[in-house]
């Protein structure tokens, strides 16, 4: 008794191949749609904004006049902001991930914590803004300073960094941990000498991608009350400041048509900022990639 009749298989072959081609086309169109939208967006922003992208644009502060408006305060503010967010979020995030993956016992409570950290990354950023407003701006009286905004942004991206770091740590092969424990290494020695060196590319890649999200976030800054037009550069962590997305948001909502072009130029600067950060992430990943 034969179950596979080769004649009928051959007969149906044409149909199967057609279905295959149809789906290939559908998936290709889906990709094309996303790419095309992105290309149109890029074209619009570049054609609109590139004219304003002069040296003066980087050297001027905000202004009521489109021709005089510059991005200096926002760019410097964003860099300051990153100087707070990067160390705070990476330290807390990687520390939490190490605790959860290496030290915490497998029990219901820890499973609950793990699950909720993943859920936290889905909480809207405006909610984190309210949290920052309550705790950092008011309770700790940090005001709408770089420090308050930096802590708020750190909380916002913390879940993403924790999850990325947990995954990177989990991907370190079990057998090289065993080799380390087998020689009498303590948990900490194993983490420092074996686990982290192998996990660092993944941790940093995830971390930098999370940081670039923080660079582009506007909502928490608005809630905290970060001002838009600032005519000075921040002097210390408690100074007032403004950031790139705030500045762009302000320009984009102004009635004068010229400000739309200024906003486009601001978006170009923001995108370059992100591009540089993502290139660093790719560079780190390629440089430190380990073979197993």
């Amino acid at each position: 008794m034969k179950y596979v009749h080769h004649d009928s298989v051959v007969k149906r072959m044409q149909n199967r191949l057609t279905v295959n081609r149809i789906f290939k086309t559908i998936f290709f169109l889906a990709t094309l749609f996303a790419l095309l939208t992105l290309a149109i967006l890029f074209y619009r922003i570049i054609s609109q904004g590139v004219g304003y992208l002069t040296l003066d644009f980087f050297q001027n502060f905000g202004s009521r006049f489109p021709a005089k408006a510059g991005i200096k305060a926002a760019l410097v503010g964003s860099i300051w902001l990153m100087c707070v967010v990067a160390p705070v979020s990476l330290f807390l995030g990687v520390g939490t991930a190490i605790y959860l993956e290496e030290y915490a016992k497998k029990n219901k409570l820890n499973d609950f914590i793990r699950m909720n950290i993943s859920n936290l990354s889905g909480v809207p950023s405006v909610v984190f803004g309210l949290l920052g407003l309550t705790i950092f701006v008011r309770t700790l009286s940090l005001g709408n300073s770089i420090l308050a905004a930096g802590f708020t942004m750190s909380l916002l991206i913390l879940p993403v960094i924790i999850v990325a770091a947990q995954e990177a740590i989990r991907a370190v092969p079990k057998d090289i941990r065993e080799a380390s424990y087998g020689m009498g290494a303590t948990k900490w020695q194993t983490i420092v000498n074996v686990v982290l060196p192998s996990a660092i590319p993944g941790i940093l890649t995830g971390g930098i991608l999370a940081l670039s999200r923080a660079v582009g976030e506007t909502a928490p800054l608005i809630v905290i009350g970060v001002p838009v037009i600032i005519q000075f550069l921040p002097e210390n962590l408690l100074s007032q400041f403004t950031a790139l997305p705030m500045q762009i948001y302000d320009w984009a909502k102004r009635p004068q048509l010229e400000f739309q072009s200024v906003a486009a130029a601001g978006i170009l600067v923001l995108m370059m900022f992100l591009l540089i950060m993502n290139s660093i992430a790719v560079f780190i990943r390629n440089k430190f990639q380990k073979r197993y």
Binding site: I176, A179, A185, T186, S198, K290, Y292
Partner: protein
């Protein structure tokens, strides 16, 4: 101690000290009773082979000897394992201290993704040796001890992953020697290797037993017969028979042992 020796009356009275004395060891993974009432005295400067079919508890047993088994969170044990007359389950006996004296070689070669030198120097470094000269000496001595010095002496700075599987396993043995252990535990050290590499590792084990006590788990009965002095046959978490290797492989006293070594099951 004497009681144990009486119980294992078939063993010729020791001229060598007992290094590991397992007494009434029971081990559970959750509800699964993996080791049942194990009594096993292991002598120094001998190769003790542990054989048995898959799932008989031989790997679990050897991992209990340096408490690596506790990396599985649901493990429970009762009974005693005396290492040099001290119970390794004692609350004041740190696993780190135990594992400094008891090295382990694993089934799959598991060098660190570091240079050959850093692999060997790992153990001494974590135990606090920083002096470069001393480290150099330890690295050379360990690599010579593992019979791989001549093959790698010109490329100590290359990544250990660039070596072949057999070389990697000997690097792992050298890494284990670098902490100057008293006992070396080997969990199927040749099961991932080709026949020639296997032969090299077996020859190495013969040399190492001059200075170390070796306990080796193996799936390969011919290997146990070739290299070991004593053999323990495990079945379903129990020690069925433990005796001189010659006796186990020629005139075993238990039918199950005979069935296993003659290839009727397993």
């Amino acid at each position: 101690m004497e009681q144990i020796l009486e119980k294992e009356s078939k063993i010729i009275l020791p001229t060598k000290d007992i290094v590991y004395d397992t007494q009434q060891l029971n081990l559970w993974y959750g509800n699964h009773h993996a080791l049942k009432n194990i009594d096993l005295p292991i002598r120094e400067n001998e190769v003790t082979a542990i054989i048995g079919p898959s799932g008989c508890g031989k790997s679990t047993y050897i991992k209990t000897l340096n408490r690596m088994v506790e990396l599985v969170p649901t493990v429970k044990t009762t009974g005693k394992i005396l290492y040099r007359e001290r119970n390794i389950f004692d609350a004041d006996y740190g696993v780190e201290e135990l594992r400094t004296k008891v090295g382990m070689v694993f089934q799959k070669p598991n060098p660190f993704p570091k240079s050959i030198y850093d692999n060997i120097a790992y153990g001494p470094r974590i135990h606090g040796i920083k002096n470069k000269k001393i480290l150099d000496e330890i690295v050379e001595k360990s690599l010579r001890g593992a019979a791989i010095w001549d093959e790698v002496k010109d490329r100590l700075t290359t990544n250990a992953y660039s070596l072949s599987g057999g070389q990697q396993q000997r690097i792992c043995i050298a890494r284990c020697l670098a902490i100057e252990p008293d006992v070396i535990l080997m969990d199927e050290p040749t099961s991932a290797l080709d026949p020639i590499s296997t032969l090299k590792v077996e020859e190495l084990i013969q040399q190492l037993k001059e200075d170390y006590s070796i306990i080796i788990v193996t799936h390969n009965m011919q290997q146990a017969a070739r290299i070991s002095d004593k053999t323990a046959f495990f079945l379903n978490g129990e020690v069925v028979e433990y005796d001189d290797t010659d006796i186990i492989f020629s005139t075993p006293s238990d039918n199950r042992t005979e069935d296993y070594i003659s290839g009727r099951f397993g």
